[in-house]
């Protein structure tokens, strides 16, 4: 099944991938080995140019490519065995969040991650990788179990966002994510998080607070889908290209911003053209993580410090701050007059109504 998928058809070729496909077709049709080698070199050069020169929005499209390997495509290749565990022991089981016990080179690891689905049936069943509160609670249950039994956790992040829906709200989507974040900040066992393709919003972060956070070369990790950001800030979803580039969503950006630790290089053509190759890269990364974990390289204190330091802010001298604000500060307990009306930009209420994460 995976083999068939990796070949793709014309609808699954993104516009900027077309020249690469044409070259691949030429290679297949070429008989002379010398000619072939020449075109292959051309293909490699072209690939470098294409993937190096694509826009942020094209990156988002690439990360959402229907042929990208999904969590289960990786686990089936990487793990010797996988025993799936179901249910949050509270209200249900969420097929968007896959959890279980994995065996990796004879070692036990606990695995959690979002499954976006491959076939239409599976996509619907997995809700396109958008988890409900049960999913987050199940993942937390498994993380706590790993901690108690003394095993490491590997999380695979592949979700556009946490599911926005009536039942999800009713059962506490926000509190479920919040609780994961709190518990991950004191989860006392090594955790590796890998952004496979699309990491979106709090729904991704809820399982991505690893000691080490890795990201595939062509994956994106974003505060929210660029379409939504565009609606909120530009009040026009069509400004998604602008939003994607402003948000800085690529692996290289995230590395520069200090949010991820390492970029996993993808095989030629990208993980979606060579799932085997991508799985080998991921397998090596997990092996390295387990080796270092066994050496005691990851401490809870270091993870806590990492998240404590997240962000970029200024500290200005008090005097210049007062000059900027011109607000009397002698007695802040004094009522400061009537509430100011909102500016009618519509921006803020828009943001509120959208509940942007």
């Amino acid at each position: 099944m995976t083999k068939k998928r990796s070949q793709g058809n014309s609808e699954q070729i993104l516009p900027f991938e077309k020249p690469l496909f044409e070259l691949r077709e030429i290679i297949e049709a070429t008989e002379s080995p010398e000619e072939r080698a020449k075109v292959e070199q051309q293909l490699r050069d072209r690939e470098k140019a294409v993937f190096g020169g694509i826009t942020a929005w094209e990156r988002v499209q690439l990360a959402r490519h229907p042929l990208r390997p999904r969590m289960l495509d990786y686990t089936s290749r990487i793990l010797d065995d996988f025993i799936e565990l179901h249910g949050d022991r509270n209200s249900g089981d969420d097929p968007a969040m896959i959890c279980g016990i994995g065996r990796f080179n004879g070692q036990t690891i606990f695995v959690i991650g979002q499954q976006k689905g491959v076939s239409t049936d599976e996509k619907v069943r997995c809700n396109f990788g958008m988890a409900h509160p049960e999913g987050y609670r199940k993942s937390l249950r498994i993380m706590k179990l790993a901690e108690r039994l003394g095993y490491p956790v590997v999380s695979f992040v592949d979700t556009p966002a946490a599911h926005p829906g009536i039942e999800a709200e009713q059962r506490g989507q926000g509190p479920a994510i919040a609780n994961n974040l709190l518990e991950c900040s004191r989860l006392n066992t090594p955790m590796l998080s890998v952004i496979l393709s699309e990491g979106g919003s709090g729904g991704a972060l809820a399982i991505a607070m690893g000691d080490e956070v890795l990201m595939f070369e062509h994956a994106v990790y974003m505060i929210c889908p660029p379409e939504r950001c565009a609606e909120i800030l530009w009040r026009d979803a069509e400004k998604k290209e602008l939003a994607a580039s402003a948000l800085r969503v690529s692996a290289a950006d995230l590395k520069e911003l200090g949010v991820i630790d390492r970029i996993l290089p993808e095989p030629e053509g990208g993980a979606h053209r060579n799932p085997e190759g991508a799985a080998a890269v991921l397998s090596d990364a997990i092996g390295l993580f387990l080796e270092r974990a066994a050496q005691g390289a990851y401490t809870l204190a270091a993870r806590q410090q990492k998240f404590e330091a997240m962000g970029v802010w200024d500290e200005v001298p008090m005097e210049s701050l007062m000059a900027q604000l011109l607000v009397p500060d002698e007695d802040p307990a004094l009522p400061l007059g009537p509430a100011a009306p909102e500016e009618s930009t519509g921006l803020e209420t828009e943001a509120m109504a959208r509940g942007s994460e």
């Binding site: 709200e169 919040a178 505060i223 911003l257 962000g311 604000l325 802040p332 509430a339 994460e357």
Partner: protein
């Protein structure tokens, strides 16, 4: 200096044009004509129907703390521009300047030491006039520092939440503030200090899915909009009509995510009581540690 010039009420549901200028205003909920001063004296709550209008962070804190007890902290932690973000012609630093003018604040979270009904606490409040109280790095850092203040002074922490979500202009770093503030809440938890959250209109998105729903006790103001994904987003995604009363404080109470709903006019007394009843207990904790 626009702060003192403003004197009109609006709500997100009504355009401000529908509210007449002058000394009298028409309440957006009950339609009663009210002497504006009466609403102001009543902490921005309509005396007829108890509609809770939004209230600024400083005003809110002033309404709660013992006179002269508030010592503001970390005002000088302000926003950077890590992404060099701009919307149209307006850069993010320019947007911040505008927000400062609109709110008279240097960030959307105001906090510090105070006493409430003589009980010491660290108190923080969000102000939706500052870019809809969205959470960015400076706000996350202020939150973390207020937590540190609470832990070091062994005072309970009280946070008034309000937010449209994450600060888009800081991209992924805004998302990381969810992890950072949750990690801060862990520190209050580990110190054995009570952490009280009051959800106010509107609390949504990344703030709702991090520190605002991690309170040991979660209070909400009546009818406040409180939820994770915005109603329009849900309507757009599911193509359904949202039922009335969805994502209100009352809805969250019914579903088990809020402890109780308290009117603004009774908040001070209520918090005073909670602080008295939950004063950190050294002796019992020592006892527990021995077992």
């Amino acid at each position: 200096m626009g702060f003192f010039k403003r004197a009109r009420f609006t709500s997100s549901k009504e355009s401000k044009k529908s509210i007449p200028d002058g000394l009298w205003i028409k309440c957006v909920t009950c339609g009663q004509t009210v002497y504006k001063n009466d609403i102001e004296l009543n902490l921005q709550v309509c005396p007829h129907c108890e509609h809770h209008y939004r209230i600024g962070a400083r005003e809110r804190i002033a309404s709660l703390v013992d006179a002269g007890s508030f010592e503001e902290r970390h005002q000088n932690v302000t926003t950077g521009d890590p992404l060099h973000f701009a919307v149209g012609q307006e850069t993010y630093p320019e947007r911040i300047v505008r927000a400062k003018e609109q709110s008279g604040l240097s960030e959307a979270l105001v906090g510090g030491f105070a006493t409430i009904e003589t009980q010491p606490a660290v108190v923080g409040a969000m102000d939706s006039k500052f870019i809809m109280a969205s959470m960015g790095s400076a706000l996350g850092e202020r939150f973390a520092r207020l937590v540190r203040d609470a832990v070091e002074s062994r005072r309970p922490l009280i946070m008034f939440a309000a937010s449209g979500g994450a600060r888009m202009q800081e991209g992924i770093l805004a998302l990381m503030q969810m992890a950072k503030t949750a990690n801060a809440v862990r520190q209050v938890n580990e110190a054995g200090l009570p952490y009280i959250v009051v959800l106010t209109d509107p609390t949504s998105g990344g703030v709702f899915a991090s520190w605002a729903t991690l309170g040991d006790i979660i209070i909400a103001e009546p009818k406040a909009y409180v939820g994770f994904a915005g109603t329009r987003l849900i309507e757009g995604a599911l193509k359904v009509k949202i039922p009335a009363g969805f994502q209100t404080a009352e809805y969250q109470l019914e579903n088990g995510f809020v402890d109780h709903i308290v009117k603004r006019t009774e908040m001070r007394e209520h918090l005073g009581k909670l602080l008295r009843y939950l004063a950190p207990q050294a002796s019992l904790r020592a006892h527990a540690a021995h077992r």
